[in-house]
């Protein structure tokens, strides 16, 4: 009378739901943590505001345009953080053996890893990014036709996918050299920090890196150039922004492959 194993999405919801229920047991602690995360995430935006008291433009982008970029990257990054941010704990879990527990269960290890460390309080950071985005929309004088709205939605969706790819790929480092996993933080958090500023401020080599190596420029600077009708910096092909969905798909496929190969190696070498 056994039921068929639930699909991955249902499973994730159940596991994450259990985490949420346990976190909500400590209501005050949860409220304080969420409020704290929410307020703390404004710090980066406040720093931006202070910066703009000294200049009118950064890399040719006005404060409202930078705020929109910040909002887009923030929404994408923090939704991703909410979904699979728990992957950061992979080194800890490998070291104390709990990761091996995931391997003997009939569900994908990555799903278990992210559901197990799901923390609803990270939603505060998504809210902050939404607020900054809303503020930017108010400040900007744009007509919001179907094309623009669609671009925003695609930009965010592709942004989430690209960040998820970066997160998963850097988590895989733990399967090779567990102590080196922290290097991945430079690409996840550093990548997001890079993406918060218009690409035009960086030197050519760093721009090329962010387009061709670690495709952070697609989450969400390049779509943003279409949304805001901004020129591209020199050296970036004009077609690039339109390739965003393709790049996102390729990044996800690449990261999935890296994860599978790394996990297979981990399994075969024992623990």
């Amino acid at each position: 009378m056994a039921d068929a194993a639930p699909g991955p999405l249902v499973l994730w919801r159940r596991l994450a739901g259990a985490q949420v229920r346990s976190q909500l047991q400590y209501r005050l602690s949860f409220a304080l943590y969420t409020a704290g995360q929410f307020l703390a995430s404004f710090v980066d935006f406040l720093a931006l505001a202070v910066l703009f008291t000294k200049v009118d433009a950064l890399g040719g982008w006005s404060v409202a345009e930078v705020a929109l970029l910040y909002g887009l990257t923030g929404i994408a990054f923090n939704v991703c953080d909410l979904a699979i941010g728990a992957a950061d704990s992979i080194s800890l879990k490998i070291r104390d053996g709990s990761f091996d527990g995931y391997l003997i269960r009939p569900a994908p290890a990555l799903l278990q890893l992210s559901a197990d460390g799901f923390a609803l309080r990270r939603a505060g950071k998504v809210l902050q990014a939404l607020i900054v985005f809303g503020l930017a929309v108010r400040l900007l004088d744009l007509t919001w036709d179907v094309r623009r709205v669609a671009l925003v939605l695609v930009a965010i969706a592709c942004g989430v996918a690209i960040y998820a790819a970066v997160w998963t790929a850097t988590a895989s480092i733990a399967f090779w050299v567990i102590d080196a996993r922290e290097i991945g933080n430079a690409f996840t958090y550093g990548g997001n920090f890079l993406a918060n500023q218009p690409l035009s401020i960086y030197a050519a080599w760093l721009r090329a890196f962010a387009v061709y190596v670690l495709p952070i420029a697609f989450a969400a600077y390049l779509p943003a150039t279409l949304i805001l009708d901004k020129p591209l910096p020199p050296g970036i092909p004009a077609a690039a922004p339109y390739l965003t969905p393709l790049v996102a798909a390729a990044a996800v496929a690449g990261a999935a492959w890296i994860w599978r190969v790394s996990l297979r190696r981990y399994r075969s070498t024992g623990s």
């Binding site: 602690s29 304080l32 943590y33 704290g36 995360q37 307020l39 703390a40 710090v43 980066d44 406040l46 720093a47 202070v50 910066l51 008291t53 000294k54 200049v55 009118d56 433009a57 950064l58 890399g59 050299v177 102590d179 080196a180 996993r181 922290e182 290097i183 933080n185 430079a186 550093g190 920090f193 890079l194 500023q197 035009s200 401020i201 960086y202 030197a203 760093l206």
Partner: protein, 266 residues
Amino acid sequence: MPDPVRLWWELARRGFRRHATYRWATAAGVFTNTFFGYLRAYILLAVHRERPRIGAFDPRQAVTFAFLTQALIVITSLWGWTELADRIRSGDVATDLYRPVDLQAYYLATDLGRAAFHTVFRGLPPVLLGAVVFRLALPGPGLAGPIALSVLLAAVVGFGIAFLLNLVTFWLLDAQGAINATTAVAILCSGLAVPLVYFPSPLAGIVRALPWASMIELPAEVMLGQHHGAGLAGVLLTQAGWAAALLVAGHLLLRAATRKVIVQGG
């Protein structure tokens, strides 16, 4: 050497050696700091393209500042630590308090050993790697003394804040929330997120007077040679003032905690 000095030295040595064993973490940290250093350097350069001079900063100083702050946030433990908080929660702090060594002095000596290790192995490399692409405004040898003192005081200020936050565990049982909140303020008010000189006028003065400026902004400015004579003395005195105040506060708070303490785990 008389006994207590020998003890502090041995503790510092152990602090140094312990962090020296984390080779990969150190390498990963250098990589991350260098990456962020480059990003912040480009942001500041973009600002200086619009406005070449801001306060005492020109483009070259601004770029150097980006790497110096990355060094200092590690040396001063801007993100804090929870070693003592963990021991308070587990109850192990009881054995620590039985030792004939002042708890604060014990942690301070160990932390300064760590700071020495981080100065050389995590502070220097990002600056050197930054010099690969950028022309940095590095200080002349004449400033070596004031710089060393400034960095030492910055490390003590950083310790003072972190120590106080750990002591909060005696009352709240969880220091992480307080640490997170303080770190958020620190990022904004220390000069890391944005040089304090960018703050509009009344705010800039207020922020410079806070302890976090003594951790990051002020020692960085000293290293850039922005202060001389009486001004330099003033900066060092500000740092020393905060260092002393935070250590005294830590001492008093520890006394209050050990008087009425509930030790977890019996």
